[in-house]
């Protein structure tokens, strides 16, 4: 009985939110409070359900089963292993916090009736991607998630949002079709697309190369890899900030997850090295890193800057994959964790600032630190983590990646990592410094002597409400906790996941 | 030389083909709608001719038995029977096409396809 319960959990964590999203939609017409309550409740229950799956895979066990077959050789199946678990627990954790944050953020926005069901639905489909046992199921949930999150992107329904959404939609379709191409070639060559069947393509050739390229296009587009990242800087800023946090924090990672599965379970390490695809990946990763970080410096809109930063950071993830060593993979998976947490913190904090002040331009945010200390504090911690300051989690992931690069005999990548850290500093530090130590000369109002000039923010705002601060603070603290601290759960998971991937990918 | 001999021997088929092409051409190129219908009829008739000619046996008689089967060549009756059906079909299509032309004339005042297109484009703009 207990075993059956554990077996049903993977299915439950992806279907329960999808089911609840319909319930939430139905309820939203009646009562706003119930809608909000149900949304948070669903996210919390999902998180704990995901966490409950840990015993199943703790010792390296794998749960896999097929639900039904649509076509011979092609069906819907579930697979839970350490990698799926890691990403699932990350996703549900962040989603839970974002839902709590959304309550206050969306209280002043329109379209809440549409937002909450779609938020929860996307959670379900995202977890479905991680729980998928074969590429076909992954593809179904992937398309589902991409198409439904379109509604989140265009939520504001301004012309800019619709334009960004259109670009997002076209690229999603292109990516989806590329995935279709890749999956069908894989199916043709190996007769199955299951993740439990060992290496699927073992010989290099034209068709395998086409498959690899298409997988790269499909998943890379989602992950924001150059040159398919063009949708990202438009789509992430126009979405409401909690949605931006999820888009940048988690949904990009589904692309990375797909790529990991492709590299280590469709192909294997010797094949990739033989066909020099790792070089191709590496070059693309380097370009993505440099491009993302460099262009971010030129951006004045806060959310756009964060979006380009995401592009650069996902480049790290791809770089880790290109290195193909165990330590690099540890850094890779850990960076997925770290970036998710860091970027969510940043977007949620930015969202709080924008919500309170209505300002998005970086130059206008001087002195806000004094009036919104907790928010800016979390922002600072996350930004420092992005730059890679010890003992934060960003530093740990970069350190591990660098060690992995050295291990693989490619010290050039270490140089790239250092350069990008420098660039990261160039666009994060000014914000932080200006926030705390900037501000206009301003005649302070009543209660102080005249002539006593303090530097402070132009407007008079208070700190964000508790519903928004608490998630931001928790995420910001996570940057610290999951850094160079003992009992780093995320790091432990990364080590296990990396080991698992290497084992799968070595014949 | 042999080709000409073949053509003369099979002049039914040859004429049928010529008529087919004439009908086909008329249907497609003439702008007067009634001429299109006439072209359709010519084309259909040519095919009927072709079909019936297949059944013709040289020096054959009509396949009617008065006093039992006689030792004589009979023309194959099947194509003729089929073509009766075909003629009926062609007639009904012609009737339908002509009724459509009547309606078009009511609407547009002309039976010329080019003029109708001109009137249409003037209205649409």
């Amino acid at each position: 009985m207990e075993a059956m319960l554990y077996e049903m959990l993977p299915l439950w964590v992806s279907l329960f939110p999808i089911f609840m999203s319909v319930v939430i939609f139905a309820v939203s017409k009646r009562s706003e409070k119930m809608r909000n309550g149900l949304s948070i409740g669903t996210a919390v229950v999902t998180f704990f359900s995901v966490a409950a799956m840990y015993p199943s895979i703790a010792g390296g066990g794998v749960i896999e089963y097929t639900i039904f077959n649509i076509l011979p050789g092609l069906g819907v199946s579930i697979r839970l292993d350490i990698l799926s678990f890691s990403l699932a627990v990350l996703a549900s954790f962040v989603w839970m916090l974002v839902s709590i944050y959304s309550i206050d953020y969306m209280s002043h926005e329109h379209g809440g009736d549409r937002y909450y069901p779609i938020l929860i639905f996307t959670l379900g489909s995202c977890l479905g991607i991680f729980m998928a046992g074969d590429f076909f199921t992954l593809f179904i949930f992937f398309e589902l998630m991409s198409l439904i999150s379109y509604v989140l992107v265009i939520h504001e329904e301004t012309p800019a949002a619709l334009r960004a959404g259109y670009k997002y939609l076209i690229m999603t379709i292109i990516g989806g079709l590329a995935l279709f191409f890749a999956i069908i070639i894989t199916f043709e060559l190996s007769g199955t697309v299951s993740l439990s069947a060992g290496t699927l393509i073992t010989e290099p050739g034209t068709l395998p190369f086409l498959a690899f390229l298409s997988f790269l296009i499909g998943f890379g587009m989602k992950a924001g890899m150059f040159p398919l990242h063009v949708w990202l800087p438009d789509a992430h800023p126009v979405a409401p900030s909690p949605a931006s946090a999820l888009l940048s924090g988690i949904m990009l990672k589904t692309g990375a997850y797909g790529l990991l599965r492709v590299l280590f379970q469709v192909f294997n390490i010797p094949l990739i090295q033989e066909a020099r695809w790792d070089l191709m990946l590496g070059i693309l990763a380097v370009i993505t890193i440099i491009l993302g970080s460099a262009v971010a410096i030129t951006q004045e809109d806060l959310k756009r800057r964060l979006a380009y930063s995401s592009v650069g950071q996902m480049g790290y993830v791809i770089l880790g994959m290109a290195l193909l060593t165990e330590r690099a993979l540890v850094g890779d998976v850990f960076h997925i964790f770290s970036h998710a947490i860091m970027k969510s913190t940043l977007f949620l904090a930015a969202g709080a600032i924008i919500w309170k002040t209505g300002l998005r331009n970086v130059n206008d945010l001087k002195g806000i630190g004094k009036q919104m200390p907790v928010t800016m504090g979390a922002f600072t911690v996350a930004a420092l983590a992005m730059i890679g300051i010890p003992p934060l989690n960003g530093f740990l992931s970069k350190w591990t990646l660098s060690l992995g690069a050295l291990e693989a005999g490619l010290p050039i990548y270490v140089v790239v990592l250092l350069i990008s850290s420098l660039l990261n500093g160039l666009y994060y530090l000014p914000i932080i410094i200006a926030a705390f130590f900037g501000g206009e000369e301003h005649e302070h109002g009543h209660g102080h002597e005249h002539g006593h000039e303090e530097k402070e923010f132009a407007l008079n705002v208070d700190e964000a409400s508790y519903g928004m601060i608490i998630p931001v603070a928790i995420l910001g603290l996570s940057c610290l906790v999951f850094g160079l601290m003992p009992g780093n759960v995320a790091f432990e998971l990364s080590i296990k996941a990396a080991h698992f991937l290497i084992t799968m990918g070595t014949p | 030389m042999e080709t000409i001999e073949n053509l003369i021997n099979n002049y039914y088929y040859f004429v049928a083909m010529v008529l087919f092409v004439i009908g086909f051409h008329t249907m497609l190129t003439h702008s007067n709608l009634i001429k299109k219908v006439i072209g359709m009829n010519i084309m259909d008739t040519s095919i009927f001719l072709f079909f019936v000619a297949i059944g013709y046996v040289h020096d054959g008689r009509a396949p009617i038995f008065l006093n039992g089967v006689e030792d004589h060549a009979y023309v194959h009756p099947l194509p003729s029977a089929l073509i009766l059906t075909g003629i009926v079909v062609a007639v009904s299509v012609t009737a339908y096409a002509l009724s459509l032309i009547v309606k078009l004339y009511e609407h547009y005042g002309t039976v010329d396809a080019d003029e109708i297109a001109l009137i249409r484009s003037r209205e649409d703009s």
């Binding site: 070639i185 | 084309m43 075909g86």
Partner: protein, 489 residues
Amino acid sequence: MSNHIPVLIIVLVLGASFSIPLVARWRKTLIFPAAVTPLAISFGLSLYLFYLVGQQGAFSYHLGEWEPPWGIELYVDYLGAYMIMVLSSISLPVLVFASRDIHHDIREEVVSWYYTLYLLLIGSMMGIALTNDLFNLFVFVEISAIAACGIISIKEDRKCIEASFKYLILSALGSGCVLLAVAMIYMITGYLNFDYVAATMTEALSLYPYNILIALSLLIVGFGVKSALFPLHVWLPDAHSSAPSPSSAVLSGLVIKIYAVALVKMLFRVFPTAIYEVVPVLDIVLFLSVLAVVFGSIFAMVQDDIKRMLAYSSIAQIGYVFMGIGLFGDRALVGGLLHIFNHAMMKAMLFLAAGMIIYATGIRRIKDLKGIGVRMPLTMAAFTIGAFAMVGIPGTSGFISKWFLALGALDLGRPFYVAIILLSSLLNGIYYFPIVVNAFFGSKIEPHPEHKDVPASMLIPILLLAAGVIFFGFFPGPLLDLLEQAISF
């Protein structure tokens, strides 16, 4: 009794079509039941046919108990039973829709004649699906041609009459070519029955290669005109867009497909398949299908009127069917044949949804469709499902047929066609998704005093078809099994 089922299906529908005007004289309210009942019965019988074919294999029925080659034979195999099922299952919801929708398009006096023409069309198409005789095929083809033009021109507005006339002329051209091909085949084999022709064709091939070639080309041109294979599609946009919506649904969904099936029957059962290795006929078909798929979508993108866009989309989609034929692999052919059913369901639903929008709001231009999703959420939800199915999102039936087509192309080592399929899916998305997006997001439509409410009798067929699209996206198994047996010619 069970022996007579094949002809019973056809006779039932044809007989009902002739009796409708009499019923109309007697009592107007009985027209609709009198029309729907035979279709429903034939749908049930088609499922029984599947059972029969599964039990005893393909069987023949001799009309009037005259043995071939003297008599007309109906041959019921999996393909025939499949097509009967497709025809009856799709025409039923469309007829239900039509019972409500047709009244605002055509005059009251001719409403009963609409049912007559409709049933005549369906009945003759069923005849095409089952017949095993060349001339019988021709007769049914002609009946369906007139009936098809009939259900367009019954609307009596100038665009309809003109479109219908163009369709008639070009259709007559096609029929002429088909008849000439039949004449050629008769000339060299002396038989009109498919099986007998196939038996003598192999030796005739060595004697009269040119005749066979001409017959083949004429058949492809003839059936190509009728099923709107590019570049012989020029009649389709006008005809399908100006017709009343249920007519468009049947025309786009069923009529153009049945001619493709007739072509399949002729190509693979009558002519020896060895011929295709020598003559690049199938390659030509494949090439034209690629053009159809690409250009149909490109033309659809620039259309203003929603029904015209759907019509051009049909041109692209029938290209998929021909691609399956042209590739001539097992899985490709299964994909193409499956696409017949899938597209029939999708396109019928899309046309009915467009018809619903036109019925309720009178809007036909795509630009004016902003915010309509708020007013008519269920209709637009069905339209969205149709759009997803057209693009080939997994979970919809459109994905399954594209998957099989792509697999079939890969089986033959021609990944280029997979790229074409994917490119066309992208193009499909480019013109379908903006409609869906505009319908739900963007500005709102103000309630217009003339906007009518959405009646249930029109909504239920649309939702039924939409449910079918999703259902067959997840459970295509039975269909695929029987199609795999259907193509064992």
